[in-house]
Symmetry: C4
Subunit: 217 residues, 4 copies
């Protein structure tokens, strides 16, 4: 099990994947991790450059977003992360970006159709759209949770806003954010010049089952 110090380092480092894959501009995206066995989470501080993130700049809050440890104010999206952890006990990590192709689907309020084996593998079907919700209360968190509960997808496209992804840990949530932008982009390109073929549900199920059980080490 991760100690808190290791988790701070892990979460800090994972933000570098957001910049590596061009999922974020300036400071507009964040990753968090649940502290295993405690009602706590580690999250990015608000408005701090990705260049300046390290274990010591990460902040720790409780699962209502109240600061527990750290010198900086937590991400302005902390309430949404906290809501997810309170209502989805299986989730150990959350990532939020405004990655451009995924956010374009979110701006139109359109799910990403399952037209690629990679979407079947990773997302188990169409990638769903959540409601338009304003920041400031539990609306965003509730929209995320209610949408993800009806889906196998670890990603939700919050309408007019951008994607949130979840995973068993922070690395899995970040992986989902990276793969989401990849498929959002490819399907965008595919639709620009025609209509790609939607994969049959039975094939999607086989691909998803295999990938979840066989892929990796």
């Amino acid at each position: 099990m991760s100690t808190l110090a290791e988790l701070r380092a892990t979460v800090a480092t994972l933000h570098a994947e957001l910049t590596r894959y061009n999922l974020v501009s300036w400071t507009a995206g964040n990753v968090s991790a649940r502290v295993p066995g405690e009602d706590l989470m580690v999250i990015k501080p608000s408005g701090v450059s990705y260049d300046d993130l390290g274990p010591d700049t990460m902040v720790v809050t409780d699962l209502h977003g109240e600061l527990v440890e750290g010198a900086l104010a937590p991400s302005s999206d902390t309430a949404a992360h906290a809501y997810v952890y309170r209502h989805m006990p299986e989730v150990g990590g959350v990532a939020h970006t405004h990655s451009p192709y995924a956010t374009a689907w979110a701006a139109r309020g359109e799910p990403i159709p399952c037209v690629l084996t990679m979407i079947a593998d990773e997302f188990g079907g169409d990638i769903p759209v959540g409601p338009f919700a304003l920041i400031g209360d539990d609306s965003i968190g509730r929209g995320i949770v209610e949408t993800l509960r009806d889906s196998r997808s670890p990603a939700v496209l919050m309408a007019g806003h951008g994607p949130f992804t979840v995973g068993k840990d922070a690395r899995a949530a970040v992986k989902a954010a990276v793969m989401l932008e990849d498929v959002a982009r490819t399907v965008h390109f595919a639709h620009q010049l025609g209509t790609p073929h939607v994969i049959d549900k039975a094939h999607v199920d086989r691909l998803y089952a295999r990938y979840q059980n066989v892929y990796g080490q």
Copy 2:
């Protein structure tokens, strides 16, 4: 308050954000900062590679663009920066790029509609278009100022030319340039496959007020 030496270093360094986010090609973009309490500004020299910028290559001009300090000729856009500083006392920094998506909206003379929470947060509504204006006199500066006065946006899309952004200091102006290209791109993508939903004015106002007051440290 910044000393002039610090300001030269800050402005030189901020140009690296223009290249990091691919907002500029070759030497075609520039950042300036007002020298607090003086009728002076620090700006990029004309036609110098971003690789070769440092505190010593930055030039200082008065607010009519006349060279005060430095061995190099100031940016060919100096007159536009200077006009902004003369007419907008609250502005401490100006950035100019030809970032591709923002410039594409500028080429069509179309404002970027407020279809994303990020646009509401940062720009407080649609991102406006300024007039087509030729370089060589105060036309560009006047177009920028007249357009920004009617808007909460720190960014203006000068028609057929490209974006100018302003801020309380040079870092804020550069942040606006980065966020502008981000949303210009996402809204471009959204429009390629449909029509995104415009956010209600009341929601825009709430998002803008919150972001301007709560976000960051």
Copy 3:
């Protein structure tokens, strides 16, 4: 002739070209090389980050995909690579990516038309589409081989999935993957605003013959 140690190093290093040209996200692409003179291949392990690849992490399998040497499980695409080596003795290297533009053509099941001299040079004509095939048996490998046999192209766009490329060695297969994405992207752009002119077959033949014989050292 390459020793096995050299081949492990070569294959590990070639994966850096996949990331350099943005052909892959996270761990979703792989390169293999036939071991000259033996019924063996060197391939990427499954689900391992490109940052962590080195000669020692590469795995060796036989040409039915059974692990012969190495501590990690081989790529989940190993069966497809192995099928290609069994049925195309002239092939010494295979690469597989989900590069976005090539995969968009694959999602629509459309071949890339030969509208650029670069396509004639490298691919000798249209870049063909292979069947939709599920992972888990020889379907993907068979689809690749049957498609490439009818074509001069070293690349096949597997429908709803992504591209596979082959070459006399792993470097040639990776080069084909890089050039494929380049032309997939350019032809995508060309089609977005009109219809490019297809190059006459006689010109294609002359370009292909020249490039295959004259280009390089």
Copy 4:
């Protein structure tokens, strides 16, 4: 005046701008420089990776493309470069790429319209299309020269092939290649969602005259 050793180093280094701005894939682009005062040019060797270029790998040919100095075969585009030097004495540098947006315009055989001040500044009007021409004799060189003679543009889009750019020296030719891709991309984006306004000829003339005389140091 440059010595030959300096020119070899300059030409080698300038290739790094092609990769920095993503104008080339693998080995598919090249820069050359005329040796001042001599009927010689320095050019990239054929099929050599950009990672492996240095002063010593550059080759020297006469202005008919015959190797004069160097251990490697010259670029397969050498004949086109040589033709330009023989017929345009004012040209000191040539660059050739298959940069994706410029090549997409070339694939459709459409000139890039002068809808941006940057195009007026750098190219003095529309960026013209040259004929479709096969490699192997003087057809490409002749197409470049005949097209550029009717234009102020330092760039020509060779139909179905890609751009060639020229300049007073190799650096100017590379700058034109970089700026060409920048505007090809922006105008592509602009056309995707509407029709940008073409700048009046009188304004183009004023912008071009000013930029050629005032910009830079």
